[in-house]
Amino acid sequence: MDIMLSPIGILLLLSVFIIGGFGALFLDRLLNDGGRMGGLWAHAFALGGSLFGLIISAKTLLVGQGIAFSIPSPLPLFLFDFRIDGLSAFFLGVISLIAAMASIYGLSYQTHFLGLYRLGRLGFFYNAFVCSLMLVTMANQGLFFLLVWEVMSLASYFLVIYEHRKPENIRAGFLYFLMTHFGTAFIMLSFFLAYRATGSFSFDVWRAAAGAIDPMMQTFIFLAALIGFGTKAGIIPLHIWLPEAHPAAPSHVSALMSGVMIKTAIFMFIRIFFDFFPIASIEWGLTFLVLGGISSLLGVLYALSEHDLKRLLAYHSVENIGIILLGFGASLTFMSLGYEKFALFALAAALYHTLNHAIFKALLFLGAGSVVAATGTRNMEEYGGLVRLLPFTSAFFLIGSLAISAFPPFNGFASEWLTFQALFIGIVSASIIVKAIFIFAIASLTFTGGLAAACFVKAFGVTFLARPRSEEATHAHESEWPMLAAMGILAVLTLVIGVGSGFVISLLVGIVASIWLSNPSTLAFPFRQFIETRSQFADILPLDTVAVITLAVFVVLTVAIMVLSRSRKVSYGRTWDCGTELGPRMEITSTSFSRSLITIFQGILRPTKQTDVEYHDEEMRYFIKSQEVRTGIGDPYRQALYRPLSAALTMVASRVRLVQSGNINMYILYVFITLIALIVWAARS
């Protein structure tokens, strides 16, 4: 057993990040170069650490043998209990992969903050964030998990408010940390309820005692876990922090947050509903299906109405989480209906989409980061014509857009196709309600696909094509090679994982099977057999043939036409402009692009339009000096849910404040009444 898979290996992994983090702070203080060396040090160590993590996860999967060990702690209930089995190895792999790419990207991206903010601080919190992300997949004890979970939220909070001179970042950070804390309170509640039901915080005890919990307690545990982890995943009513926080963070961090951090919630969903308490009734599966459907549909609609590039991508994370939850809900429903094979298959689809979304969302965010760094603004209306100035970034962003809109040879399509197959199985199930919900799920997935394609035509078209719409867009310049390298690798990955879908499906089915088949004592799980017998999965979705045929026909066609029309001349003239000079304002903008779809879905989006007209002189009101139109979409969550909540809290608090009336006689009366009441109570009890 080489050191990689032993407790020493894991501790070595953590120490890499600790050295990276504190080294960065120390270097930042030592040499006053604005933290450049510290930042480089931090990102280099983060890269090393994530590659190390990748190796560990790969080895664990190949050897098919999990690791479990625990380190005692001075406090009674606390126990630093580690466990890496198939599922955590997979998530550890995804996290390490995206962290590695983000670190490569970060190596040169961080120089943009030089002179504005200290880079050592960014390096420190970045390492803390990646380290806690990895620990979340390994924790095997309730309190240890909560500790790591909160460290993750804290580190990501500091990264969100890294540029603390911008007030909107502070607001975003505030909302983010508040919502995560609200979510953690619910997670704590569900863990305490589980502690009360099983008597211990260790997940192994929970696994053993799963059957013995009475249904009422079990529903509470599931409900609290749903709300708690739902807040972190960004399910629709609890998602309001996501479009605020992800764009505020530095781009390689938002790639990590959007690609991987929200996946830790999915990881815990799978752990709770399949690993600890695999006794969930069918209602839970259907709830997840409905939530997934709503999240995906509304997520893509809100993305359509956005004209801030990074917020658009953040809303797409909500949409893709919805798709993952569709797969997850389907597997839960099949589990409760007793079709183990289909449940395994649906869960593999969910995991596949988790992997795919992590890759292409990271690619898109890194691309957006380069665009924002090049132009200095996040507003898409000021982009345009960047395809010539940022050739590589635009190519990678295009590949990312193709992947996210689920077009065949790319990985997005593979996982969406699998989710479709899982949902199709659901239609022929027994009861009417289940059928209806599955049809709703398929409908939401179909429309999500179509609308996502529309959204990314807008995103790519407005950002990269045609003429620059603003001054900054004309001065854009291509990002340095590490940033391009990171994006390049991710772009190739989207193609490779898409085309090699047969192999990836067998890998995922192996991982999913490991949840149920790994015997508790030795933690060995039959992963290798699934790899060997991957031929059985090969014919499910052979995207490789699709890719080869399309490429072949494309090449034959191009060559043929090139040869045929070699004698024809190609001249470059002005775009047809009906005689008037085409200015940058005459191109379509992102708002006008999505206006038609917003008007169609106005029932859901409630678009708002505000016109302010300024006249030359107020009385006469004939000659308009300037007119401003502000369009936006309604935010039902804040009006209907969050503002009334805080207003109620303030109202109750102002009532309670009257206790401190300032009158000393009243204070003595409080003491006297408490005394009398307690005496009477003592005498009676």
Binding site: P408, G450, T550, K569, T575, L597
Partner: protein, 317 residues
């Protein structure tokens, strides 16, 4: 033998698609009591365009240059997997057949890939028309996908398989009584066909009037061989949809084997069915007025609802 037959299958749709366009124009002309050009005119147009020089806008990027090729390839690739006369799947070497391509989800999304690049090409030249055309096109495509997807899903559930050729085979054996949901699904599919191929109630293929054109706006900037490819790809797409509509929802007569007489019978039946479809398209184009843009979503939602009702009927009984 199968190698030769597979090559024919790939070449067949691009070959006959200009003919279909010619027939529709001829039928429309006749209904509007005009003589109209003869049915082979589109072939001449294409060859003329291939011989002409090209002007590309200097604002355009490599996407404008490459998009026509991608779109045309997509239509050819999907066309290869659509059963026209026989349900045998073309395969070059034993392990390498076009089976994966014939999965209806792969088809729908490949066609969507074509539309994606078409929209991007539209926006690339930076003119107002192109941008607006792409916006409208993506709106229609997004909404039509629901109806299209669900109607094919009804057929897939009825036949129990995802691949179109095997769908056709098993649907042929279906008893007449349970064909009612398939008719409803066909209606939904037909509306989706009109929307996807920019046919009449949704978009006017023959106009260049800014207000009414969606598809034409996107290829406004093209000229020469790229314009030819675009026109040809649109024609291919039309044939694919018609072939799907004809063979899935009216499956009888599609030859299961390669003997001569079965092929001949299948050929006759296929031309009858497509003739009827072409006639109905032409009929709609000459009698109905084009819908206002914001009434198109209602049409597409009706197609979606029709398809969902068909699905519900199929599942419950």
């Amino acid at each position: 033998m199968t190698l030769f037959f597979s090559l024919i299958q790939i070449v067949a749709i691009p070959a006959i698609s200009p003919l279909f366009v010619g027939i529709i124009r001829k039928l429309k002309a006749r209904m509007q009591s005009r003589v109209g050009a003869d049915i082979f005119q589109p072939y001449r147009d294409l060859s003329k365009l291939f011989k002409k020089d090209e002007i590309i806008s200097k604002d355009a990027s490599w996407i404008t240059k490459i998009a026509p090729y991608i779109i045309f390839t997509v239509t050819v690739v999907v066309g290869a997997a659509v059963p026209i006369v026989t349900t045998i799947i073309p395969s070059f070497t034993p392990g390498f057949s076009l089976l994966p391509l014939s999965d209806f989800i792969v088809m729908v999304y490949l066609l969507a890939l074509g539309t994606f690049f078409l929209a991007l090409a539209g926006m690339d030249s930076g003119s107002g028309f192109g941008g607006f055309g792409s916006s409208r096109e993506m709106m229609v495509a997004a909404l039509a996908e629901g109806g299209l997807f669900f109607s094919l899903l009804v057929a897939s559930v009825a036949s129990g398989s995802g691949h179109v050729p095997s769908m056709v085979v098993s649907l042929q054996t279906l008893p007449f009584t349970s064909f009612m949901p398939l008719i409803v699904a066909f209606l939904a599919f037909f509306i989706a066909l009109l929307a996807e191929n920019n046919r009449f109630p949704v978009d006017n293929p023959s106009t260049h009037l800014e207000l009414t054109m969606i598809h034409e706006a996107m290829i406004l900037e093209y000229s020469g061989k790229r314009l030819a490819l675009m026109e040809w790809a649109t024609a291919n797409k039309l044939v694919i949809f018609i072939a799907l509509g004809a063979n899935i929802f009216f499956p009888w007569g599609v030859a299961a084997s390669l003997e001569g007489h079965a092929i001949l019978l299948a050929f006759v039946l296929f031309s009858l069915k497509t003739g009827a479809l072409l006639f109905s398209i032409a009929f709609i184009e000459s009698t109905m007025a084009k819908f206002r843009v914001f009434r198109v979503p209602d049409l597409l939602f009706t197609s979606f609802v029709l398809a969902v009702t068909a699905l519900c009927i199929i599942i419950t009984f």
